[in-house]
Symmetry: C3
Subunit: 343 residues, 3 copies
Amino acid sequence: MSLTLGELARHLGAELVGSPEQVVVAVRPLDEAGPQHLSFLHNPKYVAQARSSRAGAILVKDAELLPDRTLLVTPEPYLAMARALELLHPARRPAPGVHPSAVVAEDAVLGSGVWIGPQAVVGAGCRIGDGALIGAGCVLGPEAEIGRDTVLHPRVVIEDGCRVGARCILHAGVVIGSDGFGFATVGGVHHKVPQVGIVVVEDDVELGANVCVDRATLGETRIGRGTKVDNLVQIAHNVQVGEGSLLVAQVGISGSTRLGHHVVMAGQSGAAGHLKIGDQAVVGAKSAVIKDVPDGAFVSGIPARPHREWLAANAALRRLEGMRSRLKELEEAVAELRSKLGE
Amino acid sequence: MSLTLGELARHLGAELVGSPEQVVVAVRPLDEAGPQHLSFLHNPKYVAQARSSRAGAILVKDAELLPDRTLLVTPEPYLAMARALELLHPARRPAPGVHPSAVVAEDAVLGSGVWIGPQAVVGAGCRIGDGALIGAGCVLGPEAEIGRDTVLHPRVVIEDGCRVGARCILHAGVVIGSDGFGFATVGGVHHKVPQVGIVVVEDDVELGANVCVDRATLGETRIGRGTKVDNLVQIAHNVQVGEGSLLVAQVGISGSTRLGHHVVMAGQSGAAGHLKIGDQAVVGAKSAVIKDVPDGAFVSGIPARPHREWLAANAALRRLEGMRSRLKELEEAVAELRSKLGE
Amino acid sequence: MSLTLGELARHLGAELVGSPEQVVVAVRPLDEAGPQHLSFLHNPKYVAQARSSRAGAILVKDAELLPDRTLLVTPEPYLAMARALELLHPARRPAPGVHPSAVVAEDAVLGSGVWIGPQAVVGAGCRIGDGALIGAGCVLGPEAEIGRDTVLHPRVVIEDGCRVGARCILHAGVVIGSDGFGFATVGGVHHKVPQVGIVVVEDDVELGANVCVDRATLGETRIGRGTKVDNLVQIAHNVQVGEGSLLVAQVGISGSTRLGHHVVMAGQSGAAGHLKIGDQAVVGAKSAVIKDVPDGAFVSGIPARPHREWLAANAALRRLEGMRSRLKELEEAVAELRSKLGE
């Protein structure tokens, strides 16, 4: 694959500083790029690296930062880099059709351009939107729905009745619609509470490898439009995640907790059940949220508190040894003062 | 699906306050229920919500709490709700038989009423009890055993020689019998210690999606009867979990640790290896158990200590800034006293 | 299976103290072994247990510790035990061949002695080395490569273009080559950054059940030779793990972080992105690494700091209540002194 800078500039809506005939074949980081590569400067701290880079062309916001270089000038160089990657490394798409080894229920409704991979299973009453790709070994339970242009990587499971929107990407091993963890415990015996709700994954959601999303006890577990979820995340029954949120790897969210929109939960953090985490809130890595988080707050720690308090507590903890010494000195001084005063 | 309150009362062994002819079609929470729904009051703090609920009938322990309402009175309303869900939302059960796409070893022994789903693999010498359901894409290694009426959701793996009891539920992606993490390290090289034991899952156990249970090095890894395990939990080689325990999502238990009966490990907590966690002990969320826990103890924190101590330490940490100020004031006061005394 | 001690001594290169005709049938721990079993003493604290063990023969380093016993004397008893396990419990190996239910691309290149299990999928252009075993239900994307004598347990996914070396063991549910978690966020919309790199797993690596390794954005995510990874570990895009490292269960490593060789990350620990963790560094269980770790350092805590500091901080925290009391007493003493001095 190769593109001229002229073609790239046109596709990306960028302003070209250089020859439109020059060709690039791939995107590379500044320190690895050669004359045949496109690179990008999106963080000003790498200006020096960009200046010394051997890249054939560089995506940049401000042309004045890189005089005498071949540039594609654009207000969002990182986004332009993402689009350039799509152009230079177009995703492979299998030809539409149902692989002969797949097992597809007679009454399943497949849109146009759908691909069903080898060894996949599509249950009774499923509906699969136009252009969707169902990877090898996926299992769709009865009445599952997959929106248009959604991609299921291999071995995804969508349990019965669950719904995935359009343009979603579900990575290998994702499980949608496992039972929530709900029991009525009487006399030490945990009686199962049937989980009869569903999961709804809205449009443009991405779910990482081996992510688990439990079905609701009653009603819906829901992941909002445009939310992105990293690998090995656990989303319990009746959780509601708002739009445009980011859940980093190994996050766990307990039952019935509601996240607002554009929430960020950093890696390995968790939230207890029945909480509300406000819009645009940020939860630090490895933190444990045990009470509601207001809109826009940044919390961290176990238990999670305002990030500044957590930083202060950590700093104080580091000074504790010093405090102990000062306390000891004071005790000695006071003892001396007392003896002087004849106590 | 619909039931009269008379039928429900009979099935649940509840006392009906209202008309036996009245019909309900589903269970709903108090705030979402309408006249055609059954709801439930099991926590007294929701009495006001129950009084104003539009539910057609309410499961309750104490009829006097809800005068002038249609009630099903029962000593365990939450358990009755679970049973009502089973009646109103009966689980779909595929018709017995082996799907033509499944690969079942000739010498596998299948009980009566067994269903083997599409693309499943049942290895040589497997034994599957009456009424068990083996979901699509499951893989049972040689000599695996599945008890009667156990349900394997799609894509469960039972490695060779492992045994699952009766009436268990294993959710999608569960792996039983992967090798324990054991190496003999000599000169920086980690030589694999063959893991030749098995996993035994006793009766009435539920394992969540993508749970991993490693086989023992020698002997057995064992999960006791009636224990329930949430998604993405890790259970290492030679672990013993007692009966009726609850392991919440993303818990990790290291090798050879033994849990008693009715232990609760809350979400994202972990235990080091070769420990004993006593009967009815509770481990707080995100805690790290690094020494034995006595029967009935409630521990939390990293490292885990008695929960009260952990609360006290957290409170003290919050007061640290105040202590620093007081220390500073004291230092100034003592300096002043000293100068007064002519030091 | 059974072996004479003479055969065992020869295979293990051990010195036999006892009769070469004596037979053992299995390996057992000291406290469970009977006369027909081989056991091992590798930790001197179990000498008393070894002396009273009923084991027919014991692997030991120093014969003088166990007078009057049948012994196999070897400088590395634990390693010898591992090898004895291999001899007494030889792994089952399916006969080479492609199961008729597997779907193998015409242009895939299979070495000699390869086994492809039932329901497996091998994509176009894959290359599988001599003697490799591809378990039931595995999915290999286009152009994936598997080295010689590597074993994939059931339901492993290797996404397109990723490479696994020789003599590796990948347990059930492993996902290699899922997309890294990378987005260009503009105006609250997370635009996907295509992940066009690959994953390279070097020789002699073992990956536990349901482990996830993301492909690089550009270039490679790499796991070094002889590294062992436990269940449910997350390895993000562009991470580099050196040789001979150990990543215990549920560890998470964020994007572009580089681990040296022989690093140990204990269970449930995590590392932020773009860090360097030095050779032979140790990260304590449940710790969170947020800055570089020097070679050979042992760090722990959230955030991770030198282990000794973490121990000191924990000890100080436990003494905090005491410090508060002492502070109070001092305040009273100083107040008294002041009043004496007529303030």
